[in-house]
């Protein structure tokens, strides 16, 4: 039914202009739509984080603007838009201005691959997961450049920490994903989800899948720079880390991108382990767009776990961060891949 809306728009555009122009117009429309999703999603997640943090901390969280303070973040965003864009005098101006867009663009690019439901996925490439992992690692450049170009030592330390942290934890994210790819046998995201109709991978892959999930959660937290791996910001050590010198909208870009990145990590986890948009036991598979509901529920559940981490754990030190990655996660991950391959070879998966 709603699917018809897409075809209607397609036909309408074809009627108005030539096929080539219509195609480009459609792409622009999709891009604008995704920008909208990006902003709304970011603002919603900021609100969710603050509200959840409130309940964790015996507070209420934002509860004044709108129902349950739902519009609080919109008000904040409006405030940030109107704020002056300040910067240090000796900052490397070009890099300083360009840096937020690295983060935003990569977040948007990765979002194109997220399968919100069976129907809604902008870009279903056959090397989906690979594309996701490789694109998302560009984002670190934005943080790194911000730290470098701000001409602030706190930012610089934050930026340097990013480099170390990202290079290390990219490995673990990749390896955990590879473990699941071994089970799935494909890189295409829609196919990975379809394959889970018989049972979510976290159940069919059992022990190695659970280990891979735990590693993915840990490494994913590190990838999205959240507590206990928020060394990049580390407000008690570095003030605000890499975005110390950013204000107004540029700061908002980083802030939103951080939350959207968390959403992306959670989405990958949902796609790989919890069957993406699939409903449990296929109860609502017949209804179109029901997948959107199940996908959101699963993603928010995973995001809640991220938040739970954040409001419980102390931060690691930089050397402990590396110890955890290179001495614990990486070896376990390698063994885990072999284990998964063995299981798949012997047919021991469910």
């Amino acid at each position: 039914m709603i699917l018809n809306v897409f075809t209607d728009i397609h036909n309408l555009l074809l009627g108005l202009m030539s096929a080539k122009v219509a195609h480009i117009t459609e792409l622009v429309l999709i891009g604008v739509a995704y920008l909208g999703i990006f902003a709304v999603l970011g603002l919603f997640l900021v609100w969710l984080e603050r509200r959840v943090a409130g309940f964790f901390q015996l507070r209420l969280g934002p509860n004044r603007v709108g129902p349950s303070g739902l519009f609080q973040t919109i008000a904040d965003a409006l405030k940030l838009v109107t704020k002056e864009l300040t910067g240090t005098v000796k900052a490397d101006k070009q890099l300083y201005k360009i840096a937020p867009y690295f983060v935003i663009t990569t977040a948007l690019m990765t979002m194109a691959l997220i399968p919100f439901s069976h129907e809604i996925q902008a870009f279903d490439i056959n090397i989906g997961i690979f594309f996701l992992i490789s694109v998302s690692s560009i984002g670190v450049l934005g943080i790194f450049l911000a730290g470098w170009s701000s001409n602030n030592k706190y930012s610089l330390i934050g930026g340097m920490r990013t480099g170390i942290q990202m290079i290390s934890y990219e490995l673990s994210v990749g390896m955990a994903v590879v473990t699941m790819v071994v089970l799935a046998g494909t890189l295409q995201i829609s196919e990975i989800v379809e394959l889970q109709k018989g049972g979510w991978f976290i159940f069919t892959g059992h022990i190695p899948a659970i280990i891979a999930f735990m590693i993915f959660m840990i490494a994913g937290t590190a990838e999205s720079n959240r507590v206990p791996f928020d060394l990049v910001e580390a407000e008690s050590e570095l003030g605000a880390g890499f975005h110390t010198e950013y204000s107004g909208m540029r700061f908002a870009y980083y802030f939103l991108a951080e939350f959207v990145n968390m959403f992306i990590i959670a989405s990958i986890a949902v796609v790989l382990f919890f069957g993406g948009w699939l409903s449990p036991f296929g109860i609502t598979d017949a209804i179109p767009f029901a997948g959107l509901f199940w996908f959101s529920v699963k993603v928010i559940a995973v995001i809640f776990i991220f938040m739970w981490f954040r409001w419980t754990f102390p931060r690691l030190r930089i050397d402990q961060l590396l110890t955890l990655e290179w001495k614990y996660l990486l070896p376990i991950n390698m063994v885990n891949i072999v284990l998964m391959a063995l299981l798949v070879w012997l047919g021991l998966t469910f």
């Binding site: 309940f55 964790f56 015996l58 507070r59 739970w308 409001w311 419980t312 754990f313 614990y328």
Partner: protein
Amino acid sequence: MSYFSDIINGTKSLLTGMRITGKYFFVNFLTRRDVITEQYPDNLETLKMFDRYRGEVTMYHNENNEHRCDACTLCEKACPNGSIEIVSDKKLNPETQRNVRYIVKHIYHLEMCTMCGLCIEACPQDAIQWGQNFHHVQYDRGKLTKVLNKPGSTIMSKTKEKK
């Protein structure tokens, strides 16, 4: 072998911590029971300070606009920061035919006051006492300088019972 026991014990300790915070989350999410914060400007009506709360120095006035201050300046002398200034004058008391000191202005600089309470202890007449008002916010520091005796107020005659 400590490698694996480290992992297990570490994970266990992390999960214990998550159980504590998780417990509070769900209790607050469902019932708001453990929420400890005050909803400040909303609860102004119901917010009552304790009787001994030291908010500001006030001067007691009865319903006839009379106070007990006889301008002895003991409070001014007791104050460590000079936040009390007393402007007094003398006038003839018609009954006793003697010049009696009376207060023109009892000036109280709230912005300098540290709420130490020495003035109130020093006062032999119990003329000044603690007020429980804590909402002192002003846009101008000058507005924090207050005159404690109300305009047109007179001193209570000694025969009246003390508070």
